[in-house]
């Protein structure tokens, strides 16, 4: 079941209707039923069996950990480790078996042997729900959240269906109470949620799907489309990914809002970031937060990293030395971010190690950059300097993404860069060549109009700190509804559908 399909919205509409028709205390039952129906329509019986098995392990383990945590801490720790290994093991086995088999085959080739690569499919949302469940197990062990002892209520939380497409990775503390306690009907929640769904559909179907046509046309034949074309593809892909992923998140958060459930935000105007570190605090926020809380903090606090810190302070001095364990921890986290996207080097390097290296290097070189800026008398408070910082941040992000997009492998990404830097053909920007990339003039005007609409709403939020939905909600009824209906019609009329404009999947749905 895909969240841009008409049948999905019928399903959500029925679920919302039933949710508010029954008594508030029983409303979680509707969510549980919707979860199971969604999984039934999305996975095979085997995959649903694996999902349920892992869910029951998580349930059983958390109830056990909660009951013995204070009296028998060692036993609680053992159960925690086992449960995390089960959930993590299934995620790695089903998602990344190809990566591990390739590594094994490299080793076996040294002795002239090899083994076949098994092909598994994974339950929908495994990359997202596995992290939520692992976080929940650890939070129970650390005593930072309560334990859900009712197995059915647990399934209502752990299988919360809107997040199964592309997240956000919502912690137990963020959503559990709202899911199991039920929410009162609110006209504002219902309409604001529906508006956000339509806004997300606009991003995905009107903007992202059109950009995808340009990106795919160029990337499928970069020998025919070299030089400036490759730059266009790289820039368009950055905006395609943003409108695809954040559009999906808008739909998911909007649906949750219709049930009165507040999911955490996953984006905060990332292209307004003035540094790469800030960018990643604004992009895929819940993944970064998860890694910080459950990977980075625990390893930085570990005895091993404390010893590394003590030695590095002796070796490099206090100021620089204390940063060393943090940088090692950050590199581990960035590797894991890349690996989470899939066991392929284009992901591990493109959206992992590359960004980690840039962030660490910029921190290391900050004193030198500050001296250079003082020497050149650069006014860092000027608006022009902030624009420069934003363009620079976008360029670095786009560079990493160019490898991420190289589905044929890392070397293909290198070849694309060589192509972009060695072929000089700026005239294609002016001689009508761009009209042959799959979009006609009409499509390009639509893209520009809705792109400006999106940018304008973002700038309003950033500079005026005002929510566009709140501004519109404050207008008169007739004007308000003209705007709502205009957006709905725009999505219906200008949205890309059908076989050629395959809008069936979101990019982050496959991770």
């Amino acid at each position: 079941m895909n969240i841009t399909e008409f049948s999905f919205f019928i399903f959500v509409g029925i679920a919302v209707l039933l949710y508010y028709l029954i008594p508030i205390k029983a409303r979680w039952v509707v969510l549980l039923s919707a979860n199971l129906y969604f999984l039934y329509n999305s996975n095979s019986w085997v995959l649903n069996g694996i999902w349920l098995g892992c869910a029951l392990v998580t349930y059983g383990a958390t109830v056990a950990i909660g009951s013995i945590r204070e009296k028998k801490p060692k036993g609680a720790k053992a159960i925690t480790v086992l449960a995390v290994l089960v959930v993590l093991g299934f995620m790695l086995a089903l998602k990344d078996i190809g990566f591990f088999t390739a590594l094994l085959n490299r080793a076996l080739r040294l002795i002239g042997k090899g083994c076949p690569t098994p092909v598994f499919s994974a339950p929908i949302g495994i990359s997202y729900y596995s992290l939520v469940w692992i976080g929940y197990i650890l939070d129970v062990f650390w005593g930072t959240c309560t334990v859900e002892k009712n197995p059915f209520k647990f399934l209502a939380f752990c299988g919360y269906f809107p997040t199964y497409t592309s997240g956000p990775i919502a912690k137990y503390q963020d959503v559990h109470d709202s899911i199991v306690n039920g929410n009162k009907f609110s006209y504002k929640n219902l309409t604001f949620g529906a508006q956000r769904v339509v806004w997300g559909l606009m991003k995905k179907l009107v903007i992202s799907e059109r950009l995808a046509i340009v990106v795919n046309t160029i990337y499928e034949d970069t020998y025919r489309y070299p030089g400036v074309y490759v730059w266009i593809a790289m820039i368009c892909f950055a905006f395609q990914l943003y409108t695809d992923f954040s559009g999906c998140i808008d739909i998911v958060i909007g649906i949750a809002e219709m049930f009165g459930i507040k999911l955490p935000e996953n984006f905060d105007l990332p292209f307004m970031a003035t540094s790469l570190a800030e960018f990643w605090r604004r992009w895929h926020i819940t993944l970064g937060g998860w890694l910080r809380d459950y990977i980075l903090y625990p390893i930085l606090k570990s005895d091993l990293f404390q010893k590394i810190g003590a030695k590095s302070k002796k070796a490099f001095g206090k100021k620089f030395g204390k940063k060393v364990p943090t940088w090692i921890g950050l590199m581990i986290s960035w590797f894991l971010i890349g690996f989470w996207h899939g066991g392929q080097w284009n992901y591990i390097i493109g959206v992992g190690i590359f960004f980690g290296v840039v962030i660490i290097l910029s921190e290391m070189l900050e004193p030198a950059f500050n001296k250079l800026k003082a020497f050149l008398k650069i006014n860092t408070e000027a608006a022009s300097y902030r624009i420069f910082q934003r363009v620079r941040t976008f360029f670095i992000f786009m560079t990493g993404l160019s490898f991420f997009r190289s589905y044929d492998g890392f070397t293909y990404g290198i070849a694309n860069w060589k192509n972009a830097l060695t072929v000089y053909n700026p005239w294609v920007l002016f001689d009508g060549s761009l009209d042959k990339l799959g979009l006609d003039q009409h499509d390009i005007y639509i893209l520009i109009f809705f792109g400006l609409l999106l940018a304008g709403s973002g700038l309003l939020v950033h500079f005026k700190k005002k929510s566009v939905r709140e501004i519109i909600a404050g207008q008169n009824l007739v004007f308000r509804w003209i705007l709502y209906l205009a957006l709905i019609y725009a999505v219906i009329i200008f949205g890309c559908y059908g076989v050629e404009f395959d809008s069936a999947s979101f990019i982050y749905q496959k991770f």
């Binding site: 939070d139 930072t144 910080r292 980075l296 903090y297 606090k301």
Partner: protein, 80 residues
């Protein structure tokens, strides 16, 4: 160990971690009040506090610290 004694040690820890001898913390101090106190420096601070007071915080307790007052309450609870 009373609250004042804890603060006299804690001020030294903060000054040492953030390399700023002018830092004076109180119950209401948060990360917004100290320029270099970001999420990564928070861990260095926690480890330094643990060493100074001979206590251990678990990750859950670290998550739940909203200000220095919360930190001091935890130190008092752990020192008995």
């Amino acid at each position: 160990m009373n609250r004042d004694e804890i603060y006299s040690i804690l001020n030294g820890v903060f000054q040492d971690v953030f390399d700023d001898e002018s830092i004076e913390v109180n119950d209401a101090t948060t990360s917004a009040d100290i320029e270099d106190w970001d999420s990564l420096e928070h861990i260095n601070l926690i480890v330094a506090v643990e060493k100074a007071f001979g206590v251990k915080f678990n990750v859950g307790e670290i998550h739940n610290m909203n200000n220095v007052g919360d930190m001091v309450n935890l130190i008092i609870a752990k020192k008995g």
